[in-house]
């Protein structure tokens, strides 16, 4: 093992895994704190059946994504940023784009040791900026935010679609063939979803769209890579 590998696998990773596990569990417990406080101190006590009904309704929508999203996004995030992203949330609209921007600006490959470290730094900074701006907004309050002219609010609503298009372009330019494959999978699945062709699946089948888009693209890209290597092998 090289010296780099020794530091990364021997010291950095064990530290991240130990603290990542601890901080995510602590975050989960602290997240329950306010609801428990309302129950115990302020006497806001919804019946257990209502708490479970709300939870089950949400779990039936999100349940599949608890597993699908960490698995799908892991190749971009790496170990440290996975802990961070799934504790801090707002993933597709913030953590992923910033992790990708950090790696692109530094010119490192996602999935390499360097890529893992830079995606962690990117997500950390997005957490700081997120919380700083959010704190300011919450302190100003709804009354002030409502004063913003409707045209400004409407325009800011287009940040998200523009961001999604831009992040796709960032990866599509260096990998045009894979980008084409991804678009075909995603469009076909989205179309099928809208036409009700996925209705045979249990629950709301949106999860099937993301699973097929991500893993279908990975599968085809891997096959294309293998074919190219064979060609090279045959030529040499």
């Amino acid at each position: 093992m090289s010296d780099n590998g020794k530091v990364f696998d021997g010291s950095y990773m064990p530290f991240i895994v130990r603290w990542g596990r601890l901080t995510n569990v602590l975050g989960f417990l602290a997240g329950l704190g306010p609801a428990i406080m309302l129950y115990v101190i302020f006497g806001f006590r919804p019946p257990f059946s209502a708490i479970m009904a709300g939870f089950i309704a949400q779990a039936s929508v999100s349940g599949v994504f608890w597993f699908v999203e960490p698995i799908s996004y892991f190749p971009i995030f790496g170990v440290p940023a996975t802990y961070q992203a799934f504790l801090s949330g707002n993933i597709a609209n913030m953590r992923l784009p910033v992790a990708a921007a950090a790696q692109e600006a530094a010119g490192v490959e996602p999935g390499s040791n360097e890529g893992t470290i830079l995606s962690c730094i990117g997500v950390a900074i997005s957490v700081f900026v997120n919380i700083a701006i959010l704190t300011a907004a919450v302190a100003l309050g709804a009354a002030v935010l409502k004063q913003l002219p409707p045209s400004v609010m409407r325009s800011l609503g287009f940040i998200l679609p523009a961001l999604f298009g831009a992040v796709f372009a960032q990866f599509a330019v260096p990998n045009p063939k894979i980008a084409g494959v991804a678009i075909v999978f995603a469009s076909a699945m989205t179309f099928a979803l809208r036409k009700g062709l996925l209705a045979f699946l249990p629950g709301n089948p949106v999860y099937a769209v993301i699973i097929v888009s991500v893993f279908g693209t990975i599968f085809v890209a891997k096959k294309m890579h293998e074919m190219e290597e064979k060609k090279k092998g045959a030529a040499a």
Binding site: P34, F44, V79, N93, G111, I117, I159, P161, Q170
Partner: protein
Amino acid sequence: MEYLKIANGLPMWIATGIAVSIVLFQSILFMRKSMSCGRQIGISDETLKVAVKASIISSFGPALAIVVGIVPLLVTMGGPTVWMRESMIGSVTYELMAAGFGTAAMGVTLGQAGMDGTTFACALWAMTLGSTGWVLFTAFFTPQLDKFRTLIAGGRKALIPIISASAMLGAFAYLDADRILKFDAGTVACLAGFAVMAALVVYGRKSKARWVGEWALTIAMVVGMVAGALV
């Protein structure tokens, strides 16, 4: 709406503040460790600086977009709850949906007449419990995800960057397909963001100009936003 006094009261700020602090603590700890490990494995200070700058700049647009989305939640759930929930796992759309499920379980529509302390608490339970899966799954299984990726790559390191790019393209193709098939102003914003970013990436790779890496995402986002708003 008497409950809003408690929902916006000091005890709620303290209780939610503990959760927000843990999120901050984790990222401070990880960032410091990553900076020092990065230097040890030979990432130059210059590169680290560029990446930090790019991350700060790229974070502003998405952070502002979140602020726009929280207004309806602020009115019904109060400042502290929104502060905590938007700093933790979930997203603007998730929180609105979960809060709605929570109040519906009490027979009340979120923000409508009949909202009281108990309904508010039930919404908070739904928002919190509905997101436990993400935090706990990653708390315990992140190292296994690393092994799973190696398994997909068939143990070949050369395939890992290809798998990463494919996962990213698959995920964002899914997010984009949804926007594009709607054929509305959002579609225009999405396509404009794509076009501007593609041009900037090509230019950046040719010219090696550092500002491109730092600003590309923000420029593409702003142009896309304006394009969408003008439609």
